[in-house]
Symmetry: C3
Subunit: 346 residues, 3 copies
């Protein structure tokens, strides 16, 4: 969509430097942008590409304006402004309403006029599809499931029976919402399945990455708050509650019945044990194991970072002697204290 | 389904306290259950909700009966009894038999009369679908694959060619059984694919969580024993063997050709290297790396638990000095021993 | 497909021992192979099965020929030769060309005559499907996506809009290529989605395991080099670049904008942080966290291996005292040095 730099500035309340009539019809990186494309500078590691950029314009912070060889859109938070500009310049294509002839929709489904059900999608009895929603090819929507207004199920998404998806949610291909949680009760040497009878409720403006899975509650529901953003291949167990505006990176697993606060930032490959409570505004670093509740906001970690393997193995072997080393250290301290006639601090 | 407390007691050989005629037509949690709903008390952390519960009845151990304000079903193992009660009160809905008009079933498929093939499911040549089986929307069943009696493929499950699924198995959406294992042979700088020619055999009563993948064997088959329960997003490599009644939690990866014993309990995000043997009755804690065979039953772990990040980093930095520290400690011990005229124990 | 041992030897430039007319029509393991099946010996742990094998013939290295009780195909690299032999003896079945009546293909799709579009596959406007390509049941191919010559999308694969898949690629069920990357910009307490406008480009001869996901670039493309092999359930973030012939094992996560070199071998459950560079020929061991760029080829690790849990916990508890221990050790060394009239080395 073609706009001018000045129109973007007016829309997002920014100042410009250079020709406000510069036409913008695409986006690009500082390094690769060409005619008509607007770029941005947010991460300092890309500063070195500014002087030589051939972008039509650059979104940047005031301190970089003088170094910018092309027109600029000056923003306090260039990344946030870029996000908004890109949404205007490259909008999600509108979709038509209706049901593709190769879709299968039960007769009693409540379907808004301008919602779209794509080819080979299956919508079962009692489901409700809200205004402007998009159900892409190959999706399966279970009995009584609800898709909110303007929600977008890109392709091959499964909503199991009774799942409720809020307004403007985006679910990427392969997402599964509402499969049975992992509930088994031991019966001697074997296991009996515990029926999983709750649902999943997604708030509004939730985005869920490809192949992420969120299990239905065992009895009560699993709940994902408004504005939560989940990356790809995350596993969310039954009866988890995730607070509003929390973001979680890929491959993280959250075990059943844990309650995550609001505005948390959970990195990738984190493991969160079951039945825990995590406060608001907690940040967890990548690959961390969260095995106990977190009562205070802060930054938490448990991952070691790698080393050359031979050196690593030497240190790792010592890890198994650590308790022994600690005791020997204390013994030496006592002996040293005795030698000097002082009392040891051990 | 409506039953009375007394009928449940008779069926599961329990005693009741209070009115055995209490009608039960649903389940609920101690905290949230209302009229007609039966709750249970198993995990002591929920004991505090007992006194104020408004459930119609509660399944609990004898020691909690006196504190229960409503009728009770007294069970030695309340969680197991709950699992069975819930299966009676909230049964899986029966399904009809037949083939949906939007399903695609090859002409020579052997299909039991009361099996169901859902819309947009594809069943290829030579497959066999057992009595009462349910093949949900969007499933793909490869050539010669077998779905056992009463098995349930919820939706969008893929069975590749020749895969065999036992009786009463439950496969949740996104499950892939029998994709090619990861077999490549180095050829100079590149790799040659090693054809994956075995199959996968699932025993009876296996349950497999959403988006879990089990690769076909390279030559012989990958084998999952009776009663195995796998959570979501687990990866099982080619030629793995999992013994009967073993349970595995989400996001765990099991590398090729490893043999896991019976009744093991493997937690989430565990990594099991290839070509290992793990004994029966082994328990592995979350995020553990299993890099060697485990010969004895027991509980095993390798995961560190998190700390505040700044403190964590100080300790983690020392980890790289651990071997050096161990040597210095030994040196000090020797010196101390020499000083006191004793021989060091190092 | 039936061949003789001698024909295989001629084709792959190997020598034989024993009857070159031995007919081969299948493969088997040393332990389980029967009449007509050729086995191989590569991993020394299976050497013990050689003497008693009932295979029709065995592919092995020269040093094992004398111990082989059946005809042999002598190869410098038996595993590589096996891979090729198996490809001849058990070829991928040829497929016909055409569009299944239950597929949905947009009118302007460019479709090679001998390509196959399976039942319930959906191919959207502007896509191009190359000669001999196979698009299996339930796949979704987005607008303008390209499937290269001879590529095989086994079943239920999603290519999002504009994704390009090279020649002879193999994509297993559940693969998602080109879903939106995880891009959000903070806006006060909430997050704004950053439109993901790049594509994904897969080179030739790439193989991608079941339920692996590769996100589209934010602005520029995500790029997977020729001959890359990815196992199951791998997550590749936006704008990642993976060099030619690199192999990655299951459950690994690669964060956005990281650049992986050529011929790397990344094991399972590895986590690679964002914006890193990894040199060519780097080997990373299982469950390692790669939190910094790797400039030199070599073998790297960060994972601890498990121990019996009680012993493990004792050592893990000491980990939190490690920095303190290091300081106390240094203090003792100083004191010891002072005692002996020397200067400490601390």
């Amino acid at each position: 969509m073609g706009v001018t730099l000045g129109e973007l500035a007016a829309r997002f309340d920014c100042e410009t430097r250079g020709d406000a009539a510069t036409p913008i019809d695409g986006v690009g990186t500082l390094r690769n942008a060409g005619p008509g494309q607007i770029a941005f500078l947010a991460n300092p590691r890309y500063r070195r590409y500014l002087e030589s950029t051939r972008a039509a314009a650059v979104i940047l912070a005031p301190e970089h304006v003088d170094a910018c060889p092309v027109p600029a859109l000056i923003a306090a938070d260039p990344y946030l402004t870029y996000a908004r500009v890109a949404g205007v310049v490259c909008p999600v294509p509108a979709h038509e309403g209706g049901v593709h002839p190769a879709a299968v929709v039960a007769s009693d489904v409540e379907l808004a006029d301008d919602a779209w059900i794509g080819p080979c999608a299956v919508v079962e009895a009692g489901a409700r599809i809200g205004a402007g929603a998009f159900v892409g090819p190959g999706c399966s929507i279970g009995r009584g499931a609800v898709v909110g207004e303007g929600a977008r199920l890109v392709a091959r998404v499964s909503l199991c029976d009774g799942v409720r998806v809020g307004a403007r949610c985006i679910l990427h291909p392969g997402v599964v919402i509402g499969a049975d949680g992992f509930g088994v009760a031991r019966d001697g040497q074997a296991w009996v399945k515990v029926p999983q009878l709750g649902a999943v409720v997604l708030g509004d403006d939730v985005e869920i990455g490809a192949n992420t899975t969120i299990d239905r509650g065992a009895i009560d529901d699993t709940i994902i708050g408004n504005g939560v953003k989940l990356d790809n291949q995350i596993q969310v167990g039954h009866n988890v509650v995730i607070g509003e505006h929390t973001v979680v990176a890929g491959c993280t697993g959250i075990s059943g019945s844990s309650v995550i606060g609001r505005r948390c930032m959970i990195a990738g490959q984190v493991g969160i044990a079951g039945h825990l409570e995590i406060a608001d505004d907690v940040v967890v670093m990548g690959q961390t194991l969260v095995a106990a509740s977190v009562r205070e906001p802060g930054v938490y970690s448990s991952a070691l970072t790698m080393d050359e393997a031979r050196r690593w193995r030497r240190n790792a072997a010592r890890f198994r002697q650590l308790d022994d080393m600690a005791k020997r250290l204390k013994r030496l301290e006592k002996q040293a204290a005795a030698d000097t006639g002082e009392k040891g601090d051990g």
